[in-house]
């Protein structure tokens, strides 16, 4: 591991640790409204000032980070599992199954993601708690985000299917699920890991996009998306630089994630 990756790893871990310690670091909480001090500048009481309804921005950034950083990997896990199931199996089975899976994947990739997300979200029951809404949002992201990974996995599995060691295993009488789970899937691991790590920033950004449209995590729960929305209409950065905190954090974390992934993993 080179120095840049080590630094990126430290940054991601540090951000995760700080966000997990939000209860202690920001006792004001993310929902309490200090209505006598809306849109306040940084002070000892509010390190990053307050938002438009007087909520402590530092607390909201920490809790928002916690939500985005914990749930984006969960969504990535769901999408990678689906990709392994659909892409991996199709590649392993080959023939008509592979063509069908690729067609379905291409169709899924051609769908307008954002509109699909908006439509799916509009169908959800209204009386869901903020916590449930955040889980549902990321779960939907996970369910809809498998296609690109599945395409990569199907190609890798297809290559493995015709590899010497799989042919040898077949010749030894091994076939069906056992061949898939014992020989194919373990060899797909590097691709799966790479797809998992690549998906995390994608889901963070997807949630941020939804949040900017006001369709992300339900109030009063914060997320990076809803925090970035505060920047809407901001004309001068010099006057209220502290409002850029969630954006800077997003850039730092995204850069760290990209640095963490080596070229080999990204192209695996």
């Amino acid at each position: 591991m080179n120095a840049a990756r080590k630094l990126a790893c430290v940054v991601v871990l540090a951000v995760c640790a700080v966000s997990l310690a939000a209860n202690w670091l920001a006792p004001a909480g993310y929902a309490r409204q200090f209505r006598e001090a809306p849109s306040a500048p940084p002070s000892r009481q509010h390190l990053l000032g307050t938002d438009e309804v007087g909520r402590d921005r530092f607390a909201r950034v920490l809790y928002g980070t916690r939500i985005s950083l914990l749930l984006a990997p969960a969504a990535a896990l769901v999408s990678t599992a689906l990709a392994a199931l659909i892409g991996g199996l199709a590649g392993y089975l080959g023939g008509i199954w592979l063509r069908l899976a690729r067609g379905f994947t291409d169709l899924f990739l051609s769908l307008p993601w954002l509109f699909l997300l908006i439509a799916v979200r509009a169908l959800l029951p209204l009386n869901t708690s903020p916590l449930a809404s955040v889980l549902i949002t990321f779960f939907i992201l996970g369910l809809l985000g498998w296609a690109a990974s599945a395409r990569v996995l199907s190609t890798s599995a297809d290559a493995l299917r015709n590899s010497d060691f799989v042919l040898q295993a077949r010749a030894s009488g091994l076939h069906g699920p056992r061949l898939f789970f014992v020989h194919v899937l373990p060899n797909l691991k590097p691709v799966l890991y790479a797809q998992f790590w690549i998906s995390i920033p994608v889901f963070i950004l997807a949630e941020a996009n939804l949040g900017i449209l006001g369709l992300g995590v339900a109030e009063p729960l914060p997320s990076w998306g809803s925090l970035l929305r505060e920047l809407e209409g901001m004309i001068s950065f010099r006057e209220e630089w502290w409002r850029l905190a969630p954006l800077l954090l997003l850039i730092v974390v995204m850069t760290s994630f990209q640095t963490l992934l080596s070229n080999e993993e990204v192209t695996a």
Binding site: R35, L126, N127, L213, G214, A218, P220, I235
Partner: protein, 548 residues
Amino acid sequence: MNYRRASLRLLAGYALLFLTLTSGSAFAQNGGELRFCLRSEPKTFDPLLVDDDSSLSIRYLTGGVLVRVNRHTQELEPELAESWKVSQDGKQIAFKLRRGISFSDGTQFSADDVAFTMQRLMDPALHSSTGDAFRSGSGAVSTKIIAPDQISVTFPAPLAGLDRLFDQVAIMSAHSPKKEAAVLGPFMVAEYKAGSSVLLRRNPNYWKKDSQGRRLPYLDSIRLDIQPNRDVEMLRFKRGELDLINVIDSDYFDRLAATSLQLAHDAGPSLDADFMWFNQVASAPIPEYKRAWFRSTNFRRAISQAINRDDLSRVVFNGHAQPAVGPVSPANKFWFNSKLKAEPYRPDAALKRLQADGFHLQNGALFDKGGNAVEFSIVTNAGSKPRERMAVMVQEDLGKLGIKVNVVTLDPPSLIERISQKFNYEAAMFGFRNVDLDPNGQMNIWLSSAENHAWNPLQKSPETAWEAEIDRLMRAQASTADPKKRKESFDRVQEIVAEQAPFIYLVNQNALSAVSSAVEGANPGILSPQTFWNAERLTLNASARASR
């Protein structure tokens, strides 16, 4: 020879002096170009088909009307009609027209044009929303030309506030081959670049003159840039590329006021209101116990009392809003019921009301008499930051009563489908943009059979006694021409709404606008169009004229 030369010099000197002294007249010929933005593409230039804000602005600037509601005094003033008279039964209006007026293309204006306009406006095939306001009953609208400058229009049934409705009717030429391009207003459409801009030029035949006999309008032209992005609009205004912003948000307003206080104008409470309501539709897919809460007057009043409207005004709108009283804003000078006051923030009283209905607190959470925890969702449209902030504050206020509120923001099409077709929601928060001072404009809200009777629309017969009473009062005020009787009826409607709280009114936003220091004569008001209602009398200062 020398004498002649000296005489010529003297003559030239006099001519120069004359030109200097009459520079005011010269100024009227070179008023410069006013610039501001339309926030969307105008859908039509036909004044009778106007249905969107951008087309409305163009109609206001180009259309000549018989009478005009003064946007400042809210009084009706003569325009193309010198005088008018409404019959006692409220079915007929007679106009005496001004003589010697021409359309922008030189065609003479006469009673023929008024008759042509009214016949076209009332043609059902035209589907004019302006015409809909004149539909009082079954039967045709007839016009009678008494003389070239006199005409009467008769309607099949009485129309309350009949004369004010003509503020929206831009007269079209019956004879001009240019059709809607021939106008009687101060400006005419000179150029339209789709997606980019509309250029209006001074109507050379405009009939009005100022007190010094100078022909209006002062401006040479108005350039309307089509710009939906408000950030860009504000940046361009700050750079001096735009002269007006008709309506701005409180955030933008404060930012502008911080740097250039004299450019930011707060005209006080507007006619617009933000409010919320509960779904009372019998067939709505919500649990029966929740429907029972929403149909309880005590529950609705308690919710109303538990909302801190002062905080909403102060925090969400930075003080540029007032706690709302009811369906009529205090800005509506004639129709507002001044006996009514905004519901004060009284959480203790709210809890007592709820307890009267069998609700009780248990471990900080509120339960109904059946043991159901009080929890509901408020839907509102995604993208409206002020409304989302209000919903979050209402969530916190009601949380103090032990009520759990889930705020749900939806994209507008999904939201409209839920609240007006499927009725699959519990509570909704919305805004009402009121452009009409007269309560007749609210008939489609208050009649229980109306489509926009949001809490329980399209009722075959009123489901509650108070809705039946509102129906009766609204019909009574609409069927008489006597303003006093109409006011009495509508005052009572406002009282019933305050007592029953079918809509929980939250705030009336202030009318905020921005006017560049280059513009002279601007007097922003609360009625649309806020900044350019007196466009014919607006001028640009010398430096702005020189730079354009």
